[in-house]
């Protein structure tokens, strides 16, 4: 493309500056996790690993982490099943209300989280309280699964569009029945899309706070809820900062996995 030299330089500079703005705050959090000063006076007066030890030994942090993992795993499994089913229905069939269904899948993330949160809170209390069941981890999983479906749906749909049906037809022509074709042909083609979608679903659930606030029962504390609870407590600030730094480091893992799994087409929701 014939851009002037100035335009090119300007665009590159904007890209570099943009990435700088994106990363500087994260680097500051990382650095502050070693800051000896409790109030994060800038620049740091000295460095210490004391806060990392404190965070590692904090039972609050550990419990919250375990709760988050359970919620994320539960929501991911449900999202995988539901998302795959909708994606197949949308991509392989023509039916009345198809557009409405694809919009419906999108709705939970298109609507503000607080709306989904209070709607589910209201519904759970109305449906569950007559049975003497209160909000708990279960309701968090249901809430998370609702907005995680779309990530799996998008990944599977994109894969189905690309692969077409000729391989499945060939499998049927060779005598494989519906189930065998699914097991030997369709599923292997879907596998990396499912992993990418599942990974995204898990990350989305792991990070969610708004819907969680309204669907978590008393005593159910996911990691984001724990962070938010302790964010405004000055004496907890260093530990919160360490958890934040650890989460930044951990966020590299899914990126690495997604790149390995799908050759770089994962992640764009």
């Amino acid at each position: 493309m014939n851009l002037s030299r100035t335009a090119r330089t300007a665009l590159w500079a904007m890209l570099a500056a943009g990435l700088g703005v994106v990363y500087v705050p994260l680097l500051i959090v990382m650095l502050n996790s070693f800051n000896t000063d409790r109030t994060f006076a800038w620049p740091p007066s000295g460095l210490t690993v004391r806060w990392w030890e404190a965070a590692w030994n904090s039972t609050g942090v550990r419990d919250a982490l375990w709760t988050s993992v359970q919620a994320g795993a539960g929501a991911t499994v449900i999202a995988l099943v539901l998302g795959t089913m909708v994606a197949f229905a949308i991509q392989r069939y023509d039916f009345f209300g198809k557009n409405a269904v694809s919009l419906l899948v999108l709705l939970p993330i298109a609507l503000p989280g607080i709306v989904t949160g209070i709607a589910l809170n209201n519904a759970f209390r109305a449906v569950l309280s007559p049975f003497g069941v209160s909000l708990g981890l279960f309701t968090v999983i249901v809430g998370h699964a609702t907005f995680c479906v779309v990530t799996v749906y998008n990944n599977v749909l994109a894969r189905l569009r690309r692969t077409g049906i000729s391989l499945e037809e060939a499998s049927a022509d060779l005598g494989a029945d519906t189930f065998t074709t699914f097991r030997l042909v369709t599923f292997p083609m879907m596998r990396s899309a499912l992993l990418a979608g599942g990974l995204l679903a898990f990350a989305l659930s792991f990070d969610e706070i708004i819907v969680t606030t309204f669907t978590a029962g008393a005593g159910v504390r996911t990691l984001p809820l724990w962070i938010f609870e302790n964010l405004f407590r000055p004496n907890q600030a260093p530990v919160v900062n360490v958890v934040a730094a650890a989460l930044i480091v951990a966020s590299v893992v899914p990126i690495y996995l997604a790149q390995r799994l799908s050759g770089g087409d994962a992640g764009v929701r």
Binding site: F40, L82, V101, A110, A123, I227, N241
Partner: protein, 291 residues
């Protein structure tokens, strides 16, 4: 290769086989089965919950006992429309959402363009990772990072308030704007840009008449994210917003402290209506295919 392939066995009439054959012949049954669970979950449970919330917006609470009064009334919406404080907050929220969307667009477009059209394929791969990685970092962590930076002892030390909210939200949702635009620009064939150049268009004219119209659906797709995410946010406001509340805070406070679910539900319909109007408006552009 297995050269001595055995002859294909005759189809067995097992129940499994018969079920498979039945499914194979009846596309309608297959479709119904595929749609059953998602329809129950999203159609019945989720839409049902949203509908119930909407109905609740027309109820009220007993001032003394705090119990729900299940008698239809327009009271909540009248309060919402007549009280200046709510109108101010609603307008402020929309203003914040628009500001965040525009700021993100201004920052994201050149970044996405440089990524899609100037970088080599190898660099492109790394740049996408560089943009994606912060997306995986926790929302709270990023808002928290700005709290630390904007705090009185922090690197910037600008303090908290509405400006801090706009800055933090713009930061939070920036990748959601970059990625769709990048994907859109990457699909845009280079030959179109070259053709524009060959026909005498300079950079700016090429941008205005070729790049922008073709990238518009992607831009709108990004704006759906930035707009919707900003509109419903109350956490960032609590972390860096100081005293200037947004719609989300009004909803949250009415659920928690005030224990007035009907009014919270009425307030919550405001962002939903705005988003539905927005989605309906952008549907024609094909932007929703880009999400």
């Amino acid at each position: 290769m297995n050269t001595a392939a055995p002859a294909r066995p005759a189809p067995l009439r097992t129940p499994r086989r018969r079920l498979a054959a039945f499914l194979h012949r009846h596309a309608g049954v297959r479709l119904s089965l595929l749609l059953s669970a998602p329809a129950l979950w999203l159609g019945l449970a989720y839409l049902g919950a949203l509908a119930a919330l909407f109905v609740t917006a027309f109820w009220s609470t007993d001032t003394f006992t705090g119990d729900l009064v299940r008698v239809p009334t327009w009271g909540n919406f009248q309060d919402l429309l007549t009280a200046d404080v709510y109108r101010t907050i609603a307008l402020r929220s929309v203003g914040v959402a628009v500001a965040v969307t525009l700021i993100d667009l201004l920052i994201a477009f050149p970044m996405a363009f440089a990524m899609a059209k100037l970088a080599s394929p190898r660099a492109q791969r790394w740049l996408v990772i560089a943009v994606l990685t912060p997306l995986w970092a926790s929302y709270l962590v990023k808002a928290y990072a700005w709290r630390v930076m904007l705090g009185s002892e922090g690197l910037l030390g600008w303090g908290y308030g509405l400006t801090a909210t706009v800055l933090t939200l713009s930061y939070l949702w920036l990748p959601y704007m970059i990625l769709p635009i990048y994907a859109g620009l990457e699909r845009l064939p280079d030959s179109l840009l070259e053709a524009a150049g060959d026909l005498g268009a300079r950079g700016w004219r090429t941008f205005r008449t070729v790049v922008w119209p073709l990238a518009l659906p992607a831009v709108i797709a990004g704006s759906v994210f930035t707009f919707s995410l900003s509109l419903g946010d109350y956490i960032t406001v609590k972390i860096v917003g100081g005293t200037s509340q947004l719609i989300g805070n009004v909803v949250y406070d009415n659920i928690g402290a005030a224990n007035n679910l009907p009014f919270a539900a009425a307030v919550a319909t405001v962002p939903v209506m705005i988003m539905l109007v927005y989605l309906a408006a952008v549907r024609r552009t094909g932007a929703l295919e880009n999400l």
